[in-house]
């Protein structure tokens, strides 16, 4: 082994310990290796019991998100050697309960994502014989940024509000709600607004902005939430000033 790098892993084995502990492993320092390659090396050669999630290794599946040196990142897209020669600390993403080692329970997010109805809602479906709902490139561009979300939950890990207020719907779920609101084929904006205009929705957000900083797909959840606040406020003023008009 030419040179090596130390990976300090936050380990939690509930049958053996009450509190997570740090464990160090020496892995080869190879210029082409990502942090995930280092974890795979540990799993294959040093300790097969290390638990973590990964799948695609190309930044689209969203399962290998972890906190590396205090920053939420996709481990498949973070060069290991760039972080050395100091020890590299790998922890599970924050804000979610840890099941084992680097694996967290994301049930809360899945439930919240469902609650904002992230699918196309139509007041009345048109018959199949009339063909598909057409869209221009400009209409696609409206929501494409938010549609890039891969549910990696790095934004939840970066959000101090989500950790402090467990009821907060959170950045990705609101950004995905916005993705459907901005879709020209969708008619569910009002339905979603009923859920998102509650305190646990957009108003919990205090615009720390870190969700957008850590997002690997440039979804800008913070921007989506603030735009939602602007819309909710203008809607409210309209309903007060023009009570006879349609909201």
């Amino acid at each position: 082994m030419a040179s090596s790098i130390t990976l300090q892993i936050r380990r939690y084995r509930p049958e053996d310990e009450r509190e997570p502990v740090w464990e160090s492993f020496e892995v080869p320092d190879r210029p082409e290796w990502m942090v995930l390659d280092g974890l795979n090396y540990i799993k294959d050669r040093l300790d097969g019991s290390l638990s973590y999630r990964w799948a695609c290794r190309m930044g689209v599946c969203g399962s290998c998100g972890m906190v590396v040196n205090g920053k939420p990142v996709l481990t498949c897209a973070t060069y290991l050697s760039a972080l050395g020669p100091d020890p590299v600390r790998v922890e599970p993403i924050k804000g979610f309960p840890v099941i084992r080692d680097l694996v967290v329970d994301i049930e809360d997010f899945v439930r919240k994502l469902e609650s904002v109805k992230p699918w196309i809602i139509r007041e009345k479906e048109k018959p199949l014989s009339e063909g598909e709902y057409l869209q221009t490139p400009e209409q696609l561009a409206e929501y494409k940024q938010q549609a890039m979300c891969i549910n990696c939950l790095l934004c939840y890990s970066a959000c101090p509000i989500y950790a402090l207020e467990p009821d907060f719907i959170g950045p990705a779920a609101i950004a995905l709600a916005q993705r459907y609101n901005l879709d020209s084929r969708d008619e569910g904006t009002e339905e979603r607004m009923d859920i998102l205009s509650q305190h646990e929705g957009i108003w919990c957000c205090t615009f720390v902005g870190e969700c957008s900083v850590v997002c690997p797909k440039d979804v800008d959840p913070a921007g989506a939430i603030q735009r939602y606040k602007v819309k909710a406020t203008t809607d409210w003023f309209k309903s007060v000033l023009l009570p006879w008009g349609k909201r």
Binding site: Y12, P14, E15, D16, E17, R18, E19, P20, G70, K94, P97, V98, I99, R100, D105, E138, P160, A163, L164, T206, F207, V208, G209, E210, S212, V213, D220, A222, G223, Q226, R227, K229, V230
Partner: protein, 154 residues
């Protein structure tokens, strides 16, 4: 020894390590948020500073209203109020308030492009332009107020 009794014995030794552990039932670890979470990352500290400096914004607004109220009570009252404001302690305090106001204004304006989508002729205006627009508006407003204070009504 059967497989199951071997497994049970293993669990028994493990339960000694963590009495709360129940075999085959996941035991999640939930981390408490520390009180000083806002010192964990520079971005969090900046956020908390931005939130706290809004108190300075509120104070400045109240001060302005008090000034108007004192002014309505006649020139004598206003002179006395200005004398209080000129005391070194209050001038120092207001210098700090001013710095907080600047910090709040700059960080607040910098966030504007993320919250505002401006469209001109069907096209989205670039974030830099939205940001520049806010700063220009701020400068113009400041210049108007400064001109009024320096030269009065033309």
């Amino acid at each position: 020894m059967s497989y199951h009794s071997r497994v049970d014995r293993r669990w028994a030794t493990r339960r000694a390590a963590n009495p709360e552990y129940e075999p085959y039932h996941p035991k999640w670890h939930r981390k408490r948020v520390p009180i000083f979470w806002w010192l964990e990352r520079p971005a969090y500290t900046k956020f908390i500073t931005r939130e706290l400096t809004s108190l300075a914004v509120g104070y400045a607004a109240v001060l302005l209203m008090v000034q108007v109220w004192v002014m309505a009570r006649g020139p004598g009252a206003y002179e006395r109020f200005l004398a209080i404001l000129a005391s070194p302690a209050i001038v120092t305090f207001h210098a700090v308030v001013f710095l907080f106001l600047l910090f709040h204004s700059v960080t607040w304006l910098n966030l504007a492009p993320q919250a505002l989508v401006v469209r001109l002729g069907g096209r989205r205006v670039a974030d830099r332009v939205v940001l520049a627009g806010h700063y220009v508006a701020w400068l113009v407003a400041t210049a108007v107020v400064a001109a009024y204070l320096l030269w009065g009504v033309p």
